[in-house]
Amino acid sequence: MSSQNLKKTDMIFGLCHTTDVEHLLPGGVCKTNEEKFVVLEEVIKKDPQDIIDDIIESGLKGRGGAGFPTGLKWKFASLSPEKEKYVICNADEGEPGTFKDRDILLKVPAKVFAGMTMCGYCINAKKGYLYLRGEYKFMLPELRKVLDSFHEVIKKIGYDFHIDILLGSGAYVCGEETALMESMEGHRGEARNKPPYPTVEGFRNKPTVINNVETFVNVTMIQKFGVAEFKKLGTQDSRGSKVFSVSGDTPKPGVYELELGMKLSDFVDEYGDGDTKAVQVGGASGFCVPRKKFNETIIGFEGIPTGGSMMLFNSSRSMYNVLTNYLEFFAEESCGQCTPCRVGCQQLIRGIRAVKCGQKSPDYLDALLKLTASMKLTAKCGLGQSVANSFSSIVSNFTEEMIY
């Protein structure tokens, strides 16, 4: 059944004939060249503060998961008098069930580079980096080609900005912004204490804006179509559209661009297999929503925010298996720097297994829930802090499955 209430949009991937840099794409998707680079060319004539105000006004929030207002982030970095600043695009995309940045980088990479360049212009940075996860190394030759033509173009319009691509090496935690910077500086990907935030002390301890791949594309589209057009999509708290990665028990897994603020029930009507028992929103570090709550759950910053991972599970699936898979993931990917996360992840796995095989009584689940609550409070970075999300939402909604 197709939902009437679900609004499909086409901001990120579509509208290619009117976007500025699209014709750079291999395969010549776009035939009309007259409009090429108009956006970038126009943008660098504006006052940087006006552009930033536009982005603040648009209500755009980061698409990497945390949802910090993009315009504010840029404003903080722009205010610093520091001469050396950096722009980083976070293409580490390691969250289980997420693959939308893969499609964005495969299909519209020039829009990402354009957004990074606009950021450079706004905060007065001359250098940008795309941090690409090692698993996506296969894209490198094509990305480099697009980037080369892109560099020629910005040179032609007389603007000075250079982007480099750096590769990750298979570590989920390097998607965390400060761990990513440690990795770029040649160290173990261990998260830093915050504050100071990257806009104050980021890469090489210089003011740095780091945004998700999709966030940069959104900026490009806002500049192209205007704030008003962007604000037509979404809700008060969640402006714009979002690119979702849909996987699991669905007849149509894939990447879909949908308006933010949708009801989960509408989503399930469209993408479920008719027997959806739960949806994990936001990947292993996100929340599990059981069927009885589909109707009341909003996908957006006013409800459950997500970096885009939507994993559907039908009634044939064991939620115990889902949870242990996530916990093993966290235990492996924990950088081991702080005790709550390093020891906590291991204890959660042991504990949940002990309950399942009857070594511990079901009450022990409460002790484990308390442990995740203290991890949320005391872990150093988002990895350890977010283990509680999936743990408590799965354990409390599917308690019987954890015990029997």
Binding site: L166, S169, G170, S309
Partner: protein, 150 residues
Amino acid sequence: MKENIEILTKKFGRNREALIPILQAIVEKNSYLSEEAMNEVAKQLDISAAQVYGTASFYSFLDTVPRGKNIIRVCKSIIAEMKGKKEIIKTLENVLKIKVGETTPDNMFTLLETNDIGWSDQEPSMLINDQPYTNLTSEKVIRIINEYRK
């Protein structure tokens, strides 16, 4: 080894930020980081060997134990599990006659499992070196391995 790493330090520089790109380039060529290679990198970047090893050991793609010429990494996410990852592992273990974690005696293949590689819409999936293979079936896996054997 010394000459090879000199080429890399010329390309990437000798400061700390060059370390990971250099290690990545060595792995790309030799499949793993030998003790000799790590010592040489340490010498040329003027940092301790422990620094080099400590950094390398953090990253799952910077292997510090010998690996085969082709490294197979099968995705083990929950979605991959649901879509038949077990079958794929069984097939690979049968055709390669090794278990997960092992390398074939002719040093052609190492079989590993890895966390989500970004293809949950097309599971089961695996990487062979940098190349992703998706929507795997047993037949497809056998065909792919035969291609690499040629």
